[in-house]
């Protein structure tokens, strides 16, 4: 039906390779989030799928049908652009109606179609306005409505919340999943915001420099990031990263943190004796009593509330800064000397040179369902 398959896609601009032999499959009805820093190739990938640019190599299959050489208008996809790309000389109504007009629908059908999608997106009252008279939020909804109105089996959303304010983004982040689920369409959603990615994606493909570094469910990406970079991209506050060199004793594998031996329950054998970076999520750290085994003495430097959490910046005796977060309302200490302990199961170990997580499967073959 409207599954999407990309086979060995290569796209170059002049000498620069933007997409490097990329393969990816999205199941019918699935929402795949493409996540990564700017310049990772997400937008290019989306445009290749939409058909407005052509790959240098590889094939694009939509619903099992080879569409590589087909022009955009024949692919039947819907797309919302990051900068909205509304037609400035048309009213919101006409903007939204364009996909229906292309199908030569009757005036009545067009009117019903546009009005129902506008109602859904709460922009029914501005349909007669031209884009310049719309607020950013209304523009964004108009753009979305235009992408949705034709009920395309494949929806491409290019960071649609990028250019709207925080409040609206928050609202939409709640609204969108339901909206997309109702449509039943296959969705590819590009974002740079990990929370959006986590909230919307059935699966997330983390891209960097033209390749997919990791593909998996939001849970997998968060818990088992393939490398330091991905670990750093997901999570707020950012993951703490400290240089360590794991060793083994009778109790198992441990690392030294501020002269304290911290044993790691889930650590991989391969880490022993290697130069590593340990990744500690701030929420995997907790303030503890001095006597708790593996308690690390630190000094509290600062404390900030962040959303539902309180984030504390502490400093180890060696002078390394660590972020600790705890849910709001739970007791903590706002100054002086304290002790923290590590949830040893959730600690992540990365090779210091390659940045790869030690123990992760090498994520290369990213066919659906085979993720790490």
């Amino acid at each position: 039906m409207a599954s999407l398959e990309l086979r060995n896609i290569v796209k170059r601009y002049k000498s620069q390779t933007v997409l490097d032999n990329l393969s990816l499959t999205v199941a019918d009805g699935e929402t795949l989030v493409l996540f990564g820093p700017s310049g990772a190739g997400k937008t290019v990938l989306l445009r290749l799928v939409a058909g407005v640019i052509d790959p240098d190599e590889g094939k694009i299959l939509i619903g099992g049908e080879d569409m590589t050489d087909l022009d955009a208008e024949f692919r039947g996809v819907g797309m919302a652009f990051q900068n909205f790309a509304l037609f400035p000389h048309m009213t919101a109504f006409d903007n939204i109606a364009t996909p229906l007009q292309a199908k030569h629908s009757s005036q009545g059908t067009i009117k019903t179609g546009v009005e129902s999608v506008a109602k859904l997106l709460k922009i029914g009252h501005v349909l007669s306005h031209k884009p310049r008279a719309l607020s950013n939020g209304q523009k964004q909804r108009t753009a979305l409505a235009r992408a949705l109105v034709g009920s395309p089996p494949l929806l491409l959303l290019d960071d649609p919340l990028r250019n709207v304010d925080a409040k609206l983004r928050f609202e939409m982040r709640l609204e969108l999943p339901r909206l997309l689920a109702d449509r039943g369409a296959t969705v590819i959603y590009v974002t740079q915001d990990y929370k959006e990615a986590m909230a919307l994606g059935d699966r997330i493909a983390v891209m960097s420099q033209g390749v997919v570094k990791q593909l998996g469910t939001p849970e997998q990406i968060y818990r088992e990031p393939a490398n330091v970079e991905i670990a750093r991209l997901f999570g707020d506050p950012t993951i703490n990263l400290l240089d360590v060199k794991p060793a083994r004793d009778a109790k198992g594998i441990y690392v030294g943190l501020s002269n304290v031996q911290v044993h790691l329950a889930g650590a991989h054998e391969a880490a022993v004796g290697r130069d590593c970076v340990i990744g500690l999520r701030p929420e995997a750290l907790a303030f503890v009593d001095e006597r708790t085994p593996g308690a690390i003495p630190v000094t509290v430097e600062a404390e900030t509330p962040l959303n539902e959490k309180i984030v504390t910046l502490v400093r180890t005796v060696r002078g390394r800064e660590i972020l600790v977060s705890r849910p709001s309302g739970t007791p903590g200490q706002s100054e002086g000397k304290v002790y923290i302990a590590v949830d040893s199961k959730s600690a992540l170990l990365f090779d210091r040179t390659s940045g790869e997580r030690i123990g992760s499967k090498n994520v290369v073959n990213l066919r659906s369902g085979e993720a790490a």
Partner: protein, 307 residues
């Protein structure tokens, strides 16, 4: 949503390949112009001949002689110098003036729009006729401008008839006729600039001069280059105004390329020499516009990056 794929449009019948399309779009324009290439090449051949219409029996190839003779001919160097000087002065002055006027009229208002259209009127006057009128207006007796000049103490200002002021006068007429051309292009450019950077700068209290040099100018550069390019091409080939005002005089003060080539062709009927002069002019314009286009493309990219 089962019907999803069925709704999709199907490519039907004749389709133009994406790769061929741009060629198809630009080809007609090219074909229409290419016809001109043949006369052009014929003229290149002429330029390598000893070819005076009044001495048909002596027509023969003399290869580079027409060109070589220029190198030792002080009149040619004078022509080159005057042409470049004229083009340089007019383009720079018209650009500055055109930019200034465009900025004065930048704000959208009925009055400004009206003024900008009115200012186009000199451009709508055929240069040859405009020059005729200026000649009358600068006549020492009947000329209103000479009269006005005398009122401010310039009793004996000789306008186009004195070697020291001829260039100035002709430049003045050129400015009068062609500044509106630059003005209208830059005005359109100014008014299509995005407003955000300016609003932001105004909010931040950034000095005006900084805004002008760091935001306005760079973003306007593509428009400036287009306008300047066309003005330069026309200016270095100026004929109508100069010929109607002074016929290249007084002395050899204003014997620019086109005037020389015109006299060589229509009066001396020395086709070979005239063609050689024109080819050199063509080469100069080719060279100059090449530089322009290269920068144009580069600056467009940069301006787009900022916008």
């Amino acid at each position: 949503m089962t019907a999803a794929t069925i709704q999709r449009n199907r490519p039907s019948g004749f389709r133009i390949s994406k790769r061929v399309l741009p060629y198809l779009l630009s080809l007609p324009a090219l074909l229409v112009c290419i016809g001109i290439l043949i006369p052009f090449l014929t003229s290149v051949v002429y330029s390598f001949q000893r070819y005076r219409l009044s001495q048909p029996w002596a027509r023969q190839f003399n290869w580079g002689d027409n060109y070589i003779s220029f190198f030792t001919d002080p009149k040619f160097w004078n022509t080159l110098q005057v042409s470049l000087l004229y083009a340089g002065i007019t383009v720079v002055l018209e650009l500055l003036l055109g930019l200034g006027i465009a900025m004065l009229l930048q704000k959208r208002s009925t009055l400004n729009n009206f003024i900008s259209i009115m200012l186009l009127m000199p451009l709508m006057t055929a240069p040859a006729l405009a020059a005729l009128m200026w000649k009358l207006m600068t006549n020492p007796g009947f000329g209103v401008l000479s009269y006005l000049a005398s009122l401010i103490g310039l009793q004996d200002f000789r306008w186009a008839s004195s070697p020291s002021t001829a260039l100035l006068t002709v430049v003045l007429v050129d400015i009068w006729v062609y500044t509106p051309f630059i003005m209208i292009l830059l005005l359109a450019g100014l008014r299509s600039l995005p407003t955000q950077p300016f609003e932001a700068a105004a909010l931040d209290g950034v000095p005006r001069s900084f805004v002008f040099f760091r935001i306005t100018l760079p973003m306007l550069t593509p428009y400036i280059l287009t306008a300047t390019l066309f003005r330069l091409l026309d200016s270095i080939q100026q004929f109508d105004i100069i010929y109607a005002m002074t016929q290249g005089g007084p002395g050899d003060t204003l014997t620019v390329f086109q005037v020389e080539a015109y006299l060589n062709f229509f009066q001396s009927t020395n086709v070979g020499r005239s063609a050689a002069l024109m080819i050199i002019l063509w080469a100069i314009t080719y060279f100059l516009s090449n530089i322009f286009i290269k920068n144009w493309l580069r600056l467009r990219e940069r301006a787009r990056g900022q916008a």
